[in-house]
Amino acid sequence: MAGTHANPRGLSVRQFKAILKKDIVMELRTKEMITSMGIYALLTMVIYQIALSQAGTAFDPRNIAAGLLWLAFVFTSMLGLNRSLVHEKDQGCLEALLLSPVDRPVIFFAKATGNLIFLLIVQALTIPVFAFLFLQQGTYAGDLWMIPLVLTMGSIGIAGVGTLLATMSVNTKGKDFVLAVLFVPIMYPLLLAAVSATTAAVLGGDGYVQQFWSGMGLMAAFDAIMLLAAFALYEFIVGA
């Protein structure tokens, strides 16, 4: 429920920074999210090796590299999102946050920003490993600068919608399972566009710049619409 008085902007900024800083300090101390996500990503790589083991030498993993990468990111991010909200839930800290004079969207944006940072760190660690393991043969044909762009654009959507969905799933009986069931279908359009843009960036080829930017545009549209929806709905979710 919203009070009619909004907080002065200065306080909201202070609160945003405080929550973000707290999450980062806690993560640096425990390294819980980053290690669990990183190890999970490594395990996915092993499974990819199994999946590709019978594909033959003629098969070029670059063709499906983008899909494999985003697959790994989807699963690792679900793991991380769950963790980040379990922290708040465990000792009733979320209740303490809600008791403080904070506008609920500030909590949403701070948590989502923290999650975004952790996702990007894990991705930055995963990509070189992935390239090392699977992309040694064949030359890189696209533009390297496209990769961080598409990763950021995709992660914004994952962190934004994921924070909302994880806030719900953390209060349910089958936490991880519920998050997966809600998260994957909602993320479908974003991932489809992300794989298209990433493939363009990896493979190059005819009209790849155009394919990249059209994918980026679709992702940006998804991010904008979904973040707006998540922002509007968060107040109801977090207070329930």
């Binding site: 719900m168 349910t172 069931v181 279908p185 909602i186 298209s196 929806a229 109801f236 329930a240």
Partner: protein, 253 residues
């Protein structure tokens, strides 16, 4: 207050439900009859009258179901989405008013949506088989309905994993809204993202002749009435269950 006591044009709601259910049956039957006996088969905008080979199987034009199932498939698909609007709408109303009735309405609308998306998927698969010769193609519309089906299933998984009634209602409302927003985005993005494996098959819609149009609209109207009746019947049933609960609670006092 009992929902069943509302009256319209002097007739009780139950009477209206029977009328619409009957009308739905008549209309869909009429549409199907027309489909099979009065509408010509059209393929790629030309009337087919010779043997065709589809998916390696020679098929005579009488067996070309793709046109026939169209009159069932499209109304079902459109109805499912129209009913899903009620999930989102009642979700919004619930979040504003926090009254349980809107949660009940949203849940029942989603149940009807589930029924209709499953029918859509089934007829869609049949269509795909006859149109493109395979059981499944990741074609934008089918894919969107697949995702929609998953979201509707997710809606019920979410509901079943929460004990607290009010929290369940709030989360379900929020997820219903998000899923509803997501459906058209999924459709747009599946269409707009270039896909190397399956070129999108656009079907020109311009070629419908009047007998086809009539059959299509009859089917559409019948299906919507059917959806409305199912929704109302479930709502009544829920209302009766709730009243039993109230009576039980009153007895305990």
């Amino acid at each position: 207050m009992s929902v069943g006591e509302k009256r319209f044009l002097g007739l009780g709601l139950y009477t209206w439900i029977y009328i619409t259910l009957g009308l739905a049956a008549v209309l869909t039957t009429a549409a199907l009859t027309m489909t099979f006996f009065f509408t010509p088969v059209v393929l790629a905008d030309t009337v087919v009258d010779e043997l065709r080979v589809i998916g390696g199987v020679p098929i005579q034009n009488q067996l070309l179901f793709s046109q026939k199932i169209f009159y069932f498939h499209v109304p079902v698909a459109m109805s499912s989405f129209l009913v899903f609007i009620f999930t989102a709408l009642n979700g919004v109303r619930f979040l504003i008013k926090k009254e349980k009735i809107y949660d009940t309405k949203a849940r029942i609308a989603t149940e009807v949506t589930l029924l209709f998306v499953l029918l859509t998927m089934a007829t869609g698969i049949l269509w795909t088989r006859y149109e493109w010769g395979t059981w499944w193609v990741w074609e934008p519309r089918l894919t969107t309905y697949f995702i929609l089906t998953l979201m509707v299933i997710g809606y019920f998984v979410l509901r079943n994993s929460i004990d607290d009634e009010e929290r369940r209602a709030t989360y379900a409302a929020a997820f219903g809204i998000i899923a509803f927003i997501n459906a058209p985005i999924s459709f747009a993005i599946t269409r707009l993202v270039p896909s190397s494996a399956h070129p999108v098959v656009f079907r020109a819609g311009g070629g419908l002749i009047s007998s086809q149009l009539i059959a299509f609209f009859l089917g559409m109207a019948g299906m919507l009435l059917f959806a409305w009746s199912v929704y109302q019947i479930r709502l009544r049933e829920q209302d009766i269950t709730d009243r039993v609960e109230v009576a039980k609670a009153a007895l305990e006092e």
